[in-house]
């Protein structure tokens, strides 16, 4: 039997971790769930993103989402304990989901296996970047320090095509966002680690004007260490944004990520995001 590897990296499906990164670094992804009525689907296991959006378009009632259970985390940690001496488990912000809490409780039931649960205070690909940063470290301590240091620097700028979904999910304070209206607005939202709410930074009537506005906000926040463009069923627009950014931000990779169905339940289709870790 081979010697135990020093530590494993665990995240959840809201990290929108590219498959290629998962395979290269051996990152473990625990799925959240999406529920259409009584039917439960594990994110990206029981349902593909395309299937999800097809169902969303015809659903009479909007789906709901749920975090993995502590038991599901316990299973994963128990399995990892066999050939790892520890684990860093990096998750969607605790204000947005109960996932990190489930990981913490799940870890307590696996004796003798050290799990550092990190509340990333963010969502989607900044999480993926944090996982990659961790995977490239030599020890669990180093990985934890490198990730902790970056948590305060993660930002998610999201452009939604409609308020409908995020409103249903109750993740935005409407009064503060000044969006208590029937009018169909394209809200530009910001998730920062220091704010308890998803903040509305701007609101625009049309998509073609909203995209450059989002890029403006991002540009004001430079420099960044990592940046990605994420989208829900809007690959062409995401590619255009990334291509334009690559022209000015030389040396940055700027991957494109697809928003998984749990997060997409709250963003709705055609959402776009500029997500980054500040330098």
């Amino acid at each position: 039997m081979a010697a135990k590897r020093p530590f494993a990296v665990v995240t959840d499906s809201t990290a929108d971790l590219p498959d290629e990164w998962r395979d290269r670094y051996g990152i473990e992804v625990v799925p959240l769930k999406v529920l259409f009525g009584s039917e439960t689907f594990r994110d990206r296991i029981d349902i593909t993103d395309d299937e999800f959006f097809r169902r969303l378009a015809t659903a009479t009632k909007l789906p709901t989402t749920s975090a993995p259970s502590p038991g599901e985390f316990a299973e994963v940690f128990t399995r990892l304990a066999k050939d790892h001496s520890g684990c860093i488990s990096i998750h969607i912000g605790a204000r947005l989901s109960a996932t990190a809490e489930a990981a913490r409780v799940g870890a307590q039931s696996v004796e003798g296996f050290k799990v550092n649960v990190i509340d990333s205070k963010t969502v989607t690909m900044p999480l993926a970047f944090l996982c990659r940063v961790a995977a490239e470290c030599a020890t669990l301590e180093e990985a934890s320090a490198a990730v902790e240091e970056r948590v305060s620097k993660c930002r998610v700028l999201a452009l939604l095509d409609t308020l409908k979904y995020i409103e249903m999910g109750g993740r935005v304070s409407r009064a503060q966002a000044m969006i208590g209206t029937m009018l169909d607005l394209k809200p530009l939202l910001l998730v920062t680690p220091d704010s308890p709410d998803v903040k509305s930074v701007d609101r625009v009537r049309t998509r073609s004007r909203a995209i450059p506005r989002m890029v403006e906000y991002f540009s004001a926040d430079l420099p960044v260490e990592h940046v990605a463009v994420v989208h829900a069923q809007a690959p062409d627009e995401a590619e255009t944004i990334a291509a334009n950014l690559r022209k000015t931000l030389r040396g940055l990779e700027i991957p494109i990520g697809s928003i998984g169905c749990v997060l997409a339940t709250h963003t709705g289709p055609k959402a776009l995001g500029l997500v980054y870790i500040k330098k």
């Binding site: 009064a175 503060q176 000044m178 969006i179 208590g180 209206t181 029937m182 009018l183 169909d184 607005l185 930074v201 701007d202 609101r203 625009v204 009537r205 049309t206 998509r207 073609s208």
Partner: protein, 542 residues
């Protein structure tokens, strides 16, 4: 004549003359309304002038001032507070110029009266950015010139000067169609100029009667002047209600102070929250006084005499977190759906009004005073409200930015761009940009036969206006909207927002949507219940 100096215009005479004007205008303002050039239903020039004049006379009714200067000053202040619509605002500037010209004088000689008429016209010209000939301005000037000519006659008298001014005004009104194409096409004279003529006629009727000597044939006693002198005792009060939120509020002390400003006073409540109700002629003063005790909530001021105007405080105003930039938003809007939309976008106080119901300067002032911020952005959302809105800035200590929005779509676009974390000036710049980007299509029915902009329009026709300019006429809404969208060039736009008015049926809405979607598949269509009067549909194209 027994004396060399004929009787002059003193305070009591000027007061009676103005009351005569008021009653004569009251009897004739509908006529001015009908002179509406444009076929859109905004024929309220006569009404606006009447309401402005009522406000001018309001404080005068109870004044026994002997000096003409005092009466003129009251008229100037009152008309400024009550100015509605463009003609109303110009009228208020005429009063202002007159008051300046007679400052310090107890009585006017015919010559001084003529000079005051001329100065009144000059002041009105100065108040307008781009004076247009063939309007009330021209009529005011011609009246002043005729008065001056008459005053230099050897037997000049007050009635002869006013008679000349009236005659000058009449002649100028008749000439207005030759000065303005739009009047000639429509075959009417200028409504605002006609209103001024009526005001002068009312004065003339009054002074002729006063001047009537026993040896002269008794002039028929003008009915109008009689009516004016029988004004209701209570005057035109405002029913003013609000809550004061504060600490250790003394209801007794507040009641005592407010009782001095009106009647039907009710002040009740607890040390933290007091409800105030009063009928007053000066709601602004009441509000200013109450504002010293604490924060005002649920402010409602109803004009009990003329039009019923409400000032709605946004439902959640008290619960909203304070805005980081300390900038408030006030918008002039009518229609339940549109009111909700503007409130939902963050507007603090709505002044109900618009196309056929121009709010007065005072309505807007009250709204601005009731906003819990010292800096306020005011959105008139109608061309006819802009001038009155601009008057507000000089009447309050608050910093007021008037963002010149000409239509509901411009107003919505502007408010959407408002950001609570950006300074007032930066917001104004960004909001202005957004307002200018939006195209407005308004759809309504012609209220009269007319020719305008090369179009022949029959009463009842559906007409379409692009950015307030009449462009198309037709038989149904869909046809007119199709033409308008075609003219704008649908390729340059992506979103059409349809605000459905109170007069549009479900079927008409359905037909309109279907027509837009099938003719312009590249445009996204969004429907909102605007609830506005007179315009079955307002469309925002962006």
């Amino acid at each position: 004549m027994a004396s060399n100096s004929p009787p002059g215009v003193d305070g009591p005479l000027f007061k009676r003359a103005l009351l005569g004007s008021l009653s004569w205008l009251a009897a004739n303002h509908e006529e001015a309304n009908r002179l509406n050039v444009f076929p859109v239903p905004d024929g309220d020039t006569g009404t606006n002038m009447l309401l402005t004049l009522q406000s001018a006379v309001e404080d005068i009714k109870d004044s026994n001032a002997a000096e003409v200067s005092k009466i003129a000053k009251l008229a100037s202040h009152g008309s400024l507070m009550g100015a509605r619509g463009n003609s109303g605002v110009i009228l208020s500037q005429i009063f202002r110029g007159f008051a300046r010209a007679v400052e310090g004088k107890s009585s006017l000689t015919p010559r001084e009266l003529a000079a005051a008429f001329e100065e009144a016209a000059n002041a009105a010209y100065r108040a307008v950015n781009k004076p247009t000939e063939g309007t009330i301005l021209t009529v005011a000037r011609e009246a002043g010139r005729a008065a001056t000519a008459a005053a230099s006659e050897p037997d000049a008298s007050v009635p002869s000067v006013i008679a000349a001014a009236t005659q000058g005004a009449r002649a100028a009104v008749l000439k207005t169609p030759s000065q303005l194409n739009i009047l000639r096409e429509a075959g009417v004279v200028d409504a605002g100029g006609f209103g001024l003529q009526i005001i002068l006629e009312g004065m003339l009727k009054t002074v002729e009667e006063v001047d009537a000597m026993p040896d002269r044939p008794a002039a028929a006693r003008p009915q109008a002047a009689q009516a004016a002198l029988e004004l209701p005792e209570g005057g035109w009060g405002y029913c003013t209600e609000f809550l004061i939120e504060g600490t250790k509020l003394d209801t007794e002390a507040i009641r005592n102070q407010i009782e001095a400003l009106g009647n039907s006073v009710m002040v009740v409540g607890e040390p933290e929250l007091v409800k105030v109700h009063v009928h007053t002629d000066d709601p602004t003063r009441v509000i200013a006084l109450a504002g010293r005790y604490g924060k005002l909530l649920k402010l409602n001021v109803g004009d009990m005499s003329t039009q019923h105007r409400r000032i709605l405080e946004s439902e959640a105003a008290g619960a909203k977190p304070p805005r980081p930039n300390g900038v408030g938003l006030v918008a002039v809007v009518a229609g339940s759906g549109l009111v909700e939309i503007f409130q939902g976008l963050g507007v603090d106080v709505i002044v109900e009004g618009g196309q056929t119901m121009n709010p007065s300067t005072q309505d807007m002032l009250i709204a601005i005073e009731s906003v819990p911020y010292d800096e306020v952005i005011l959105l008139p959302n109608n061309r006819n409200v802009i001038l009155a809105a601009k008057q507000v800035a000089s009447l309050t200590k608050k910093k007021v930015h008037v963002l010149e929005t000409h239509s509901v779509p411009e107003g919505v676009a502007a408010v959407v761009a408002f950001r609570p974390d950006r300074s007032g000036a930066a917001n104004v710049a960004a909001m202005k940009d957004e307002a200018e980007r939006v195209q407005t299509i308004e759809v309504t029915h012609a209220v009269r036969d007319t020719r305008s902009n090369g179009l022949r329009v029959k009463k009842g026709d559906v007409i379409g206006l692009i950015n307030e300019k009449l462009e198309f006429a037709g038989r149904d809404y869909a046809e007119v909207v199709n033409k308008a969208l075609g003219k704008l060039g649908p390729d340059s736009y992506e979103l059409v927002t349809v605000y459905r008015g109170a007069g549009a049926s479900e079927d008409e809405l359905e037909n309109l949507q279907t027509a837009i979607r099938s003719n312009f598949p590249g445009l996204e269509v969004e429907v909102q219940q605007g609830g506005q009067q007179h315009y079955p549909f307002i469309l925002s194209v962006e």
